[in-house]
Symmetry: C2
Subunit: 324 residues, 2 copies
């Protein structure tokens, strides 16, 4: 198996590559389990520290057609397309968001179509495709009504991928991801960045700002669970995708207050008190337009899974990233 | 008011221009009723016979960026974007469909954005954005799940238009149209072409093929009603578009058998017997994926209207196109 991972320097991309290397095999388009021979780890900056002979690091601008054309060959079996600019960034710079989040996806899909090799294609969509008047629990037949350019771009990708799959140009699966928590590292420009920040920073002894109301309900998934679901999404037989290629993932539904309660239970009052409430209307508008819970019946039927509870998610983060 | 109509040589485009000329005024972006000074009638072939000094005929390829750039100026107040290739054609030629139905729309929207003048923008979407498991009566919050490239392209346009409108680049309204019957002229490559054909051809003494089962339910609107709704869509104040820029139109829900019954009632048994049933799996697959009825609550709230009954639609067609 020759695999391309875009957004490989990102947090999920990197963890995915590590998981694939450890796993060693993937199922090819004919349903056969095959050894992973090569992983092309592509990002705009070189991916560091993946010292494995199977990894080939490539860097470049995904919005450059010349670069795109060299990312997929006729022998590329599978693509994990994770490259994206995050929600607040796509809202702040419309052209950048359109180029990276949509045009690059379209360009990559076109490249695959022209090769005629019908590679497997796994990508991440987002709860940001939803908005407007929403039920408390969003069903799989809920209309998409993005309230941000990021959500618009992700929804357009989903439509394209479904049509390219229906026509046999790629064998696509788009996983509509919850907000991923707890991310390690620094805050980013995602409108949801605070959801990791209010757990991560206090655990490291730092203050953290919560820019949304305590009763804001979020749909959450841990990084480990996200990686497991990405690989599961790749491994599923195409025949099982009876209700389409775009799959609302299962997740945990928690209010920000419940997240903080869990942090308090795991790490104590002193840690939880490092969170400062400072509402930010811009972030509240974007995050408040996202659904806080999904039925995700199709995903569960297909065997995708959610974290058991948020306390476990916090403990896993501590074990993975704060071992001392 | 300076107005651009794309797809002006098409049946709807032409009737829209005639209706606008007769009307003489439109509401500008500031809510003021203004005289129509110029209508640019654009299509790949020159629009014939619109002998009015306000009409400026332009021909060109809408997929050509040079051509696109010259269609909108800073003084273009309103755009009626109707240019498209029809469903079976977009299914048969993927690249052509993507270029005309999606990329040209994206290019025109980009041009408007770069001008910074926020023109009004009215375009037609399609029931082909729906598919998969559908209720008998489709509500406004039904997810889009196109089963054709045409439906995919229309849905992507709808998403783009909504985001461009939210950001203030254009003041957009996308009207999700039922199947328009009865169209005059010849059959075209729309999968729904038969829906006009089974009325039009028998009335002209010719045989007509019905390629779908008699119990296939269609969502229908007459040409006159479509033009009235396009103009109503333009005239609506932006403040009223509280549930978004993409509006499922009201319509008439009839099975093919009921359409033929109405034809029999209007024109007699001999005429109705000119319809031959000859199922075509390709057309049945596409048409069968479209919903046969919508609640269209948002549209009705906004004052969009449907035809009263199908017998009236047939009689109107006879009066307009078969007066002898």
């Amino acid at each position: 198996m020759n695999i391309l991972v875009t957004g490989a320097a990102g947090f999920l991309g990197r963890r995915l590559i590590e998981a694939l290397l450890q796993r060693g095999t993937l199922t090819d388009r004919h349903g056969q389990l095959q050894p992973i021979k090569r992983i092309t780890a592509f990002d705009r900056e070189p991916v560091q520290g993946l010292d494995d002979p199977r990894v080939q690091v490539k860097e470049g601008d995904i919005t450059d057609e010349q670069v795109l054309a060299k990312l997929i060959d006729a022998d590329t079996d599978s693509i994990f397309h994770l490259a994206a600019v995050v929600s607040s960034q796509a809202e702040g710079d419309f052209e950048l968001g359109m180029r990276v989040n949509f045009s690059a996806t379209q360009g990559l899909l076109e490249r695959a179509r022209q090769l005629g090799s019908c590679p497997k294609w796994v990508m991440t969509s987002s709860v940001a495709v939803f908005g407007g008047q929403l039920p408390d629990n969003v069903d799989d037949d809920q209309v998409w009504a993005p309230q941000s350019s990021y959500g618009t771009q992700k929804a357009m990708n989903d439509l394209l991928l479904a049509d390219y799959s229906r026509r046999g140009f790629v064998d696509g699966r788009s996983l509509r991801m919850p907000t991923i928590v707890v991310r390690p590292g620094k805050p980013n420009l995602a409108a949801s960045s605070f959801a990791s920040g209010i757990i991560r920073e206090p655990l490291s002894g730092q203050a953290s700002v919560c820019p949304v109301a305590l009763d804001t309900r979020l749909w959450l998934m841990s990084p480990a669970q996200a990686i497991a679901n990405l690989i599961h999404g790749h491994e599923l037989a195409a025949e099982r995708l009876s209700q389409g290629r775009v799959i609302n993932m299962p997740g945990l539904s928690l209010t920000v207050a419940q997240m903080i309660d869990a942090l308090r239970e795991v790490a104590g009052d002193e840690v939880a008190q490092r969170i400062q409430l400072r509402p930010d209307a811009k972030i509240e508008r974007i995050v408040g337009s996202w659904p806080g819970a999904f039925s995700a019946g199709y995903a569960r039927e297909l065997g995708f899974t959610a974290d058991e509870d948020f306390i476990g998610v916090i403990r896993q983060f501590i074990q993975d990233y704060l071992p001392h």
